[in-house]
Symmetry: C3
Subunit: 352 residues, 3 copies
């Protein structure tokens, strides 16, 4: 592992050092786990106390966090981004062994493979498929007929890409995901469900990352599209004809039904479900486990099932536990009112 001085690291991320610039940095760790040689980061001020107890050799902090720290500080505008840069500096991204084209892979004669690709054992590249330059395709992956894969893609083991899907550049697809299976489309008639041909495809644009064990259905008529820079966690299900805008983050186990359109820079929490045929705006944030059944405007923050405005939802859902007390209060009130009314009528009667 390479070792850098704090000063070298600071220069790399365009930050400033407070304290000894010569401490050696060789890796990174969280504040409470860091030891000698580790740089840590303070992205959230609520952990500021840990600055006094951490055994890190240096800590990345945000601009506004000037403290009389014993541990050397690296001040950066965006500490978490600086942390990412330093992780890349010290460790680099995942390495992939150069294997070339394995003779245990099956490549159709009509398929075209770009330069400098690594295609591992037991991979199938079917007829008329095209794979760009510098792609890495791990064992057991299946690249269907007519699939088009761009440059610099990484396709992990046992991924299945159905026929005619289009994969952009620098796309990463994690293990055991399925891209382009038929959409869940049936016409039910006289009690039988008849399969509707799904003639659309799936398009994953540049810089998309798909987690492990995801399922992305092909469209019925148009395509299912994940736009550039969007990242999906594990076990995400995307329905047919849905379009996820660019630079969204969809956490694990999200499910989005068919024909929904989502804008750019949305963040969708784990296990969220979104029904079909909706329009979700830009920069929408959806809390974990939410159930979205209506269109959502730009910049909204929502959660709950059914999902509502987060401010209201936070109060409303946390009040669920008060329901039994509320109900009792209502009954008590009803009794009190009845008594008050009775007294009155009794008085009246007496008065008569």
């Amino acid at each position: 592992m390479p070792t850098k001085t704090l000063e070298e690291v600071a220069r790399y991320v365009n930050g400033r050092v407070f304290g000894d610039p010569n401490v050696k940095i060789s890796s990174a760790a969280t504040l409470n786990k860091a030891g000698d040689g580790d740089i840590s980061f303070l992205a959230n001020l609520k952990y500021e106390k840990q600055l006094r107890t951490t055994k890190a050799s240096a800590v990345i902090v945000g601009k506004d966090t000037i403290t009389d720290s014993k541990v050397p500080l690296l001040v950066a505008e965006d500490p978490y981004f600086a942390f990412m840069q330093i992780m890349v500096l010290l460790h680099g991204h995942r390495k992939h062994k150069k294997v070339g084209i394995s003779r245990l892979a099956y490549i159709s004669d009509s398929a075209k493979i770009g330069a400098d690709c690594d295609i591992h054992n037991f991979v199938t590249v079917a007829d008329d498929a095209r794979v760009g330059d510098r792609c890495i395709i791990y064992p057991g992956a299946y690249i269907g007929e007519g699939v088009n894969v761009g440059n610099d893609c990484i396709i992990y083991p046992n991924v299945t890409i159905y026929d005619n899907c289009k994969i952009g550049n620098r796309v990463i697809i994690n293990a055991n995901s399925a891209i382009g299976e038929d959409g869940f489309g049936f016409a039910s008639h006289n009690g039988l469900h008849h399969k509707i041909p799904q003639i659309g495809s799936v398009i994953l644009e540049d810089d998309v990352e798909i987690g492990a064990c995801c399922g992305i259905e092909r469209g019925t008529l148009g395509d299912t599209i994940i736009e550039k820079g969007t990242k999906l966690g594990d076990l995400v299900a995307i329905g047919h004809g849905t379009r996820i805008g660019p630079h969204c983050l969809l956490v694990a186990q999200v499910g989005i039904s068919g024909s929904t359109i989502m804008g750019h820079h949305c963040i969708v929490g784990g296990q969220v479900g979104i029904t079909g045929h909706l329009t979700i705006g830009n920069s929408v944030m959806i809390g974990a486990q939410a159930g979205v059944i209506n269109n959502v405007g730009d910049n909204k923050v929502i959660f709950g099932s059914p999902a509502i405005d987060a401010k209201i939802a936070r109060r409303a859902y946390s009040m669920l536990k008060n329901l039994p007390d509320m109900r009792k209060s209502i009954h008590d009130l009803e009794k009190q009112i009845a008594e008050l009314e009775q007294k009155k009528s009794t008085k009246k009667k007496k008065a008569k």
Copy 2:
């Protein structure tokens, strides 16, 4: 792509034409995306306005929807079913290349393969397995020991079928699904979880379709059964010993625990969870994300977690957002009552 006249298409689906019967139809599209040569459909009257703006060459409508349309209409009893038929007429179902038995597949000497099968590279058909006629088994699929696959099945890449499962005719299993893994059955004793042998199997009856990345556990004692014509979306989990009746639709990410029995023609929305040992009736509809913890009678429509009658649930769950206001109202009422009571007692005291 074949081109038909509207009249030819109408005759095929047993419908009637209003407008020019000679317009050419070569594909299908939604009302707002359709262009020249496309037929579209109006399954829901709320989109009727789009009839005026669509650029489709023709639109399929239901019996009761006679309008003075500029666009030629094809009147069919069940427009969505007609749409499906026309999709099949124009595009056909998914084509599969004839490859025969790949010499890169492994077929056990004791396995039996029917006529006209296509078995791709890197497929394993284990000992004593039987595969019927005209089956297509894609790369990386695993057909375990003693598995029985019927005729005309399609098994997509990297599907795993564990030993002794029984697959009917015309069954489709999408990529990366697992059929017949051990049920989640452990006897916990003195703090350790002991595996209970799962000696049941999985039976998928005729015309079942399983989505991508599904997991269907084998039964502990009896079998886990998906009855004929039932379709599962992606990432569905079915517990051991559960029996799903015929002609059900289970949307993506549904989870059903063990030993539950479901009737026929049920529709289960996305991310629904159903606990074990329940009995769900026939023609039950369960809304997305519902949590079902009680038996459900025939023809019920339910949603919510816990799931209740849909009519009540629709009002109750939409009222969650009013909880803070309701609580405030109760507090206000309590104060008002207290004041009323105090005035009264003060009056009484004064009176004394």
Copy 3:
């Protein structure tokens, strides 16, 4: 299938027989499905009635359940555990054919394989990986670079284990699961999501079982750890850097975000979601579909989304259906109070 007398079976599980000790037992079944030769079990007294109607040849009951039964009884301290033992006695655990090292598998020259392993077709064992003794690795599984697998493990078809993960002894990984894909970690900066290198790994300790189609992310800095004896159902997603304590049970479709720490002997119901950076105590029980967003102390029983104490939750969530009535009651009360107050003020006015 071997046949035992009830007495032999009783001796094996250290139980006592009431009734004919010589009845023959060859298999097991549930009370309502058992027939001649089957032993059944009564783990829950609410099914006691079935003792009168069951056709089982014998029934396992708990210590305190002495009845004047017609069917012979086997009294055992823990009937479900005895049932498990008898299942193992009669049927044994799943058998695996001895295949040795398939010549259709790819094993790197630098990989080390222990004694008596069965490595099937189309398996890849990458560079520097180590596999212990008596392991069974089914077709299509991928054992990445530097992975360490202990003794007596079973890895089912199409499982993917990424580089440098550590798998203990007697670990079972079901089909199509992914172990060690990158954690979902991105630093978002100027609208782009930058991948943070995930330099941690995944550790599965001894006697862990992982269901089918699970995804377990590797840690960003430290490791993701599943401790000894813990069992995961199908389609479970575990986030990066999370640590699940020993002897937990996580049912199907559970999702746990990153950096959460869970104690020992927890039971987590189906479709539960747990957010990141939480601490969950020991022996915690979490009901199906719960959404856990706060730390949880030892021995707590919680459910609901958001999850709260089960006793409160049971009442609160079942009261959701009363919300419309409650709201109406509040409105009625407000009207009544208004009337009472008006009468009073009218009276006052009249009095003036």
